[in-house]
């Protein structure tokens, strides 16, 4: 379904993808795990055509999306749903209009049909009854669920989830994880989930990819990841503070850095 080939991306001196190759299979749930700043969200955004990589290809249904023009990308996006990390709701529109937006933009459905679809989607995320509220009146977790309702409102073939459950209470997180799996199993939605939540990933994923500063350090089934003997993978899965994965963005020595200024 989606193939990433020789993808390289850099923001100044920070490399978020170092010539990586990966494959996201149709009708499967693939979770991309990795620490903050490991390049997960950047990879996800580039897969939906928001921002181009420095070099390399992203093949979606046979087309390299890094070379698509605006019009073709617009057409392709009808097949994609995206849940943004910060939800990215329109602050000036109420919840109803936020969820209705893709339908009004891409379809000629009647108001009554749109109304029913919105009720169905808000019911799925447990938020029916808040249609009239503005995004600023919702909690972070509710905002995220509205974002999810909007991501799936067009019944896309592929849904990209950027941290779908971060900031949610355990029950809401459980509901969302189940929803991602149900959409995949029942409707065959190809799902690409960027996450920090190792336990949830191990539960819902068919395949897990672990990114580490722009490199794929492991990929495989949850079973293979759980049984990995790679110290980096073990550290990540267990959330250990000590191990081969450093908790910093630069190799420059801290003391040297702090004493850098000449007075």
């Amino acid at each position: 379904m989606i193939k990433v080939e020789n993808l390289y991306n850099t923001f100044g001196h920070i490399e978020t993808a170092k010539n990586i190759y990966c494959h996201f299979e149709q009708k499967k749930v693939t979770c991309i795990l990795g620490g903050s700043g490991s390049g997960k969200s950047t990879l996800l955004k580039q897969m939906v055509g928001l921002g181009k990589p420095t070099s390399g290809k992203i093949i979606f249904d046979g087309q390299d999306i890094t070379t698509l023009n605006r019009k073709d990308m617009y057409k392709l996006r009808k097949k994609m749903g995206m849940l943004f990390q910060g939800s990215a709701l329109f602050n000036s529109l109420n919840i109803y209009e936020n969820v209705a937006f893709p339908l009004r933009e891409h379809t000629d459905l009647s108001d009554n049909v749109i109304n029913t679809i919105i009720k169905i989607k808000l019911e799925m995320v447990g938020l029916r009854g808040v249609e009239h509220l503005m995004p600023s009146q919702l909690s972070g977790g509710m905002t995220k669920r509205v974002g999810l309702a909007r991501a799936i409102v067009m019944d896309p073939k592929v849904v990209f989830y950027d941290e779908p459950t971060s900031g949610l209470d355990p029950i809401a997180a459980g509901v969302i994880d189940k929803l991602i799996k149900d959409l995949n199993l029942k409707l065959g939605v190809t799902s690409i989930v960027v996450s920090h939540d190792v336990d949830a990933a191990l539960k819902i994923a068919d395949k897990i990819i672990i990114l580490f500063y722009g490199d794929i350090i492991a990929e495989g089934t949850p079973e293979e990841i759980r049984n990995s003997d790679d110290p980096k993978v073990i550290q990540f899965i267990n959330g250990s503070p000590d191990g081969p994965i450093p908790f910093k963005m630069t190799d420059k020595d801290f003391i040297e850095d702090i004493l850098d200024e000449k007075i």
Partner: protein, 114 residues
């Protein structure tokens, strides 16, 4: 999407659909159903035996039929669903509100005889 309307008798309308009922085709199905809602029929049967895929807009279009049936003492029956289409009703929690039939002909006869 192929839409065929058959007035089997004065009391029951039968709408046979085949193909994919999705965002790009469900408006045509709605356009076919809307004039039937204005007729004085006892019921409508929508035959989905030839439908291989249905999305939320398809369900929402069927819901409109249900809204029509509830606003009078009329019946709206959905017939001949394959498992993939039935899954959409299950996933959206709408399985229990619809009247389903295994085949359209018997549903038509059932309504006509009631």
């Amino acid at each position: 999407m192929n839409i065929e309307i058959r007035d089997t008798n004065a009391d029951v309308a039968l709408l046979s659909l085949s193909g994919e009922l999705d965002m790009s085709t469900s408006t045509r199905v709605r356009d076919a159903l809307t004039p039937i809602y204005k007729k004085n029929v006892k019921g409508i049967v929508v035959d989905l035996a030839g439908v291989t895929y249905m999305d939320s807009s398809g369900i929402a279009t069927m819901i409109e039929g249900l809204q029509w049936s509830k606003s009078g003492s009329r019946r709206f029956v959905v017939a001949g669903l394959c498992d993939a289409v039935m899954d959409v009703f299950v996933l959206t929690n709408l399985k229990d509100v619809f009247e389903f039939a295994t085949d359209a002909e018997s549903a038509v006869n059932d309504i006509a005889g009631s």
